[in-house]
Amino acid sequence: MIEVKNAVKRFDGFAALDGASVSVPAGSVYGLVGPNGAGKSTLIRCLTGIYRQDEGDIRLDGQGVWENAALKGRVAAIPDDWYYFMQSTIRDMMRFYRGFYPTFSMERYEKLKEVFNIDEKKTIRRLSKGMQKQVAFWLALSCMPDYLILDEPVDGLDPVMRRQVWSLVMGDVSQRGTTVLVSSHNLRELEDVCDHVGIMDHGKVLLERSLEQLQDNMVKLQVVFQDGVTEVPAELPVLHASRVGRIHTLIMRMNAEEATAKLSTYAPLLVDAVPLTLEEIFIYELGGADYAVKDIVL
């Protein structure tokens, strides 16, 4: 369980976090989505004990993170710019991590060695960026963390590697109940792996929802009304409506059956429920196209 309440973090007067609140249920995979500069990395650095928030409360399992070594021993983090020691080989770095994380598992490390298939005697500096990222996952997963905090984790990985890395993380989530917080500037990338999504912009979390909630609570209908009806009846609770020719596209905050039932009173010529993409859901959740949501989630 990760709980961030009204976190504020200022840099020289500029609030990178401006009252952000996040709640990640234990065992879930939480996607933090927002454009560059939204405050995702700052929030993650506060969560991993690098930054101390100026205001607000940041807790993992009910405990404050700042200077809490025992708690941090249960957290593994992969920042977007993962740091390793200049001359170190993978094995050197493994020894380093092993010296810090009480739950570090050599067994896991050896197993993952086969998965990633990288020579552990290689100097990390000489590996490609994507391989370095794989090493970061390798070591982080070997720490057997209860919390896995990932900042733009799959940037620079090819699709095959992405799948592999996510596969490992999902394995941990289902087997060990690992709680994962993952940030990305691209919602589509997180769609498959997350069960919770928070949208962040300008240092605030605009909304957070579980995907289940989202998908069941909004519907997009294509409707053709009977001749003579050109306007959408005013009494319909429509979030957003548009029209091409005779076909109206309606967004309504309810599930498909309810919506169809509501419309049937007008005996339309055609009612067709069209699935919404996650992006669309967020666009309408955030108040429609006039809000520059495209910039935030894409």
């Binding site: 650095r45 930054y51 200077e67 021993g73 810090f100």
Partner: protein
């Protein structure tokens, strides 16, 4: 599961072995290289001993002497090596990625601080340990092992290493930038000395009578300077008779005792180091990780840095600009002019201010309204400083001690020095104070530097020792003119009265004080320098000549000093020096050397010199005859002053460069130190 795994599972929150080992293995080239360099010395020593070059090192005490002498030089080594160790150990603080990584680890800042501090200290000590171990091996090999000396040396090395590394650590936590760290470190270490020097330089630029010199009053704030000047080795040697294998006796000097002087200072600085380390830790607890890259990482130190850099730049840069653009070409007189100096300081200060602002903001776009306000403050401060100095708002120029506060007075005037003791020489002291008052009243005249080419300048130096032991130094270059000499009450006439009083003449020859003549030299220049003759005088010969000069003084034929320097060429072309020493054990400290100008009419002296065979009266030439023979440049004759054109040639080196009992001369500082 190996032991490594087990240690990390125990919750040691103050020390992490993995990090410690990682530090040492990551940065081994540093301490490895230093160890290699250090090891060269004992190895070279061993070679030398084995080849009997330094056979004295077979004595234990000689080894201790060697240790101690090395220790007195270690402040410099430690100063340099500590910053390297600090730079590698604390480098993780200066990069956002490494800051993130190290602070994500499950280790509190206490643990990070202590582990890294110990790593750095270990890196500092390894080379000393290697070098020391080799030295101990060699001393054991040659039976010259001295545990007491070794113990003290180890304590000294530990203390110095700790202090320097702690001070570097403190600097490391003040900044967030790897490149700023050494700059800041050296600034911390030498700021006091630098400020003392530049402030006294400014005082001497503006204040009439104040000379720029560093006296080390604040050197304790610059530990390296303080340690180098105070740590010392006191070795006592005694003569011992030795017999060689073949039975010959010879006298050898044997080291019988070695003491470290002011050894306690290392302990004091080690305590200071502990305080600095504690302060550094406090800064770490409050340090914001995001300051990686900032020049100054501590919020409240930022204005200090901004205005401190502006002030340093104004002082150092302003002085430099002034020297470059005004001093050489436009300055009138020997003292700085306030307005151009203020302009130079303002320019340098504002540049320093904006440079500091840019460094703090990590941006070149700092010319905003708020920063111009700060720049305005810098301008005002520069102008205020120049005004305070120019108009002597602190009363430094006007400060003349009352007769009652004095213990002694040292005066250098008219080419001679006079040591005056309160209670004994009160009359002369009163004269000196009157003279000083007259000088202080004329500061604007002195500042204007009237007619520097035509007028002869009398160099006058004053040192008052006050009853409380403090000293007050003044140094004047007084232009002397005929009109003012004739005017009562001017410093010209007061100075003339003083140096030409019988009491002063007698004091010059040390006839009425506890100085005794110890010897002298005489050089006689003859016929175009072809037959110069030089003699060393022993104390008896010197005494004979001194007595003759004394008789001439009584007869009124010696001792008159012409402050305008116009009688210079009347004297015979010879350099006659007499050396004096104060009677008593401390020979080195109180010594004086005077030069006697011998002129026609000094019958007693001339007879004496002739009788001693040092000169032949009929062959003596005056300086003017001598110069004419040598065909000196007309410039010299016209100006009546000595110029550079004459310096390089022939045997004329003595003229006028070194002064003496006979009147005003070029810069000659008497050997006497009060």
């Amino acid at each position: 599961m190996n032991w490594e795994v087990r240690t990390m599972q125990s919750k040691t929150s103050y020390f992490n072995g993995t990090l410690f080992r990682k530090n040492l293995t990551r940065f081994w080239p540093l301490w490895g290289g230093a160890s290699f360099l250090g090891a060269l010395f004992p190895l070279a020593m061993w070679m030398n001993i084995s080849r009997s070059l330094h056979s004295y090192l077979r004595e234990p005490l000689e080894f201790t002497n060697l240790y101690y002498n090395t220790l007195t030089g270690l402040p410099v080594v430690s100063l340099l090596y500590a910053i390297l160790c600090a730079m590698v150990v604390w480098s993780y603080l200066y990069n956002a990625r490494s800051v993130g990584m190290l602070h994500t680890l499950p280790l509190r800042r206490e643990g990070l601080f202590l582990t890294n501090f110990l790593s750095g200290l270990t890196m500092m000590l390894i080379p000393y340990a290697v070098t020391g171990a080799l030295c101990v091996l060699i001393s054991l090999l040659y039976g010259s092992f001295d545990p007491a000396g070794l113990f003290n040396t180890i304590l000294g090395v530990l203390g110095l290493s700790f202090f320097y590394f702690a001070s570097a650590t403190f600097a490391a936590f003040v900044t967030g930038n790897l490149f700023a760290l050494p700059a800041l470190y050296f600034l911390f270490h030498f700021l006091a000395v630098l400020l003392e020097w530049i402030l006294s330089e400014f005082a001497s630029c503006f204040l009439v009578g104040v000379r720029s010199y560093y006296n080390g009053a604040t050197s304790f704030l610059s530990p390296t300077v303080h340690l180098l000047s105070h740590l010392g080795v006191d070795s006592t040697y005694e003569e011992a008779e030795r017999i060689t294998a073949d039975g010959t006796h010879y006298v050898d000097s044997v080291l019988t005792a070695v003491e470290l002087e002011n050894f306690y200072l290392i302990g004091v600085y080690a305590l200071v180091g502990a305080a600095l380390a504690a302060a550094a830790f406090v800064l770490y607890r409050r340090r914001r990780s995001e300051c990686a890259g900032d020049v100054v990482a501590v919020g409240w130190m930022k204005p200090l840095f901004r205005y401190g850099l502006a002030a340093l730049s104004a002082l150092l840069g302003g002085r430099l600009l002034y020297a470059l653009f005004w001093e050489g070409g436009f300055q009138n007189g020997p003292y700085a002019e306030a307005l151009p100096m203020a302009v130079c300081m303002t320019v340098a200060g504002v540049i320093g201010y904006f440079a500091a602002t840019m460094l703090l903001a990590k941006s070149l776009r700092v010319f905003r309204r708020r920063s111009w306000l700060g720049a305005g403050a810098v301008v005002l401060a520069c102008a205020a400083l120049c005004a305070v100095l120019r108009f002597d708002a602190l009363g430094i120029q006007r400060r003349i001690p009352a007769a009652e506060e004095l213990r002694s007075v040292y005066l250098y005037a008219g080419g001679n020095s006079y040591s005056l003791q309160a209670g004994k020489d009160d009359d002369m002291i009163r004269q000196v104070l009157d003279l000083h008052r007259a000088v202080a009243a004329d500061t604007e005249y002195l500042r204007s530097g009237a007619d520097p080419d035509d007028v002869y300048h009398a160099y006058t130096e004053l040192t008052y020792t006050l009853a409380d032991g403090k000293t007050l130094d003044r140094y004047y270059r007084l232009p002397i003119t005929e009109e003012r000499l004739a005017q009562a009450g001017t410093y010209d006439s007061l100075l003339d009265q003083f140096v030409n009083s019988t009491a002063a003449k007698i004091r010059r020859l040390h006839l009425d004080d506890d100085y005794a003549v110890t010897g002298g030299t005489i050089t006689v220049y003859d016929l175009a320098g072809k037959e110069d003759s030089f003699f060393d005088l022993n104390s008896r010969e010197a005494k004979t000549i001194l007595d003759a000069v004394g008789r001439d003084t009584q007869a009124g034929t010696w001792g008159q000093v012409d402050l305008t320097g116009s009688d210079r060429d009347d004297a015979y072309a010879m350099d006659l020096y007499l050396s004096f020493a104060k009677e008593g054990p401390d020979v080195d400290r109180d010594a004086d050397r005077i030069t006697i100008a011998v002129r026609p009419g000094m019958e007693n002296t001339l007879d004496c010199l002739d009788a001693m065979g040092l000169v032949q009266r009929e062959r003596l030439l005056t300086w003017s005859q001598y110069y004419n023979d040598e065909g000196w440049s007309e410039e010299y004759d016209e100006m009546g002053t000595y110029t550079e054109t004459a310096s390089g040639t022939g045997g004329a080196g003595g003229i006028g460069i070194i002064g003496g009992a006979d009147g005003p001369t070029k810069v000659y500082v008497a050997g006497t130190v009060i």
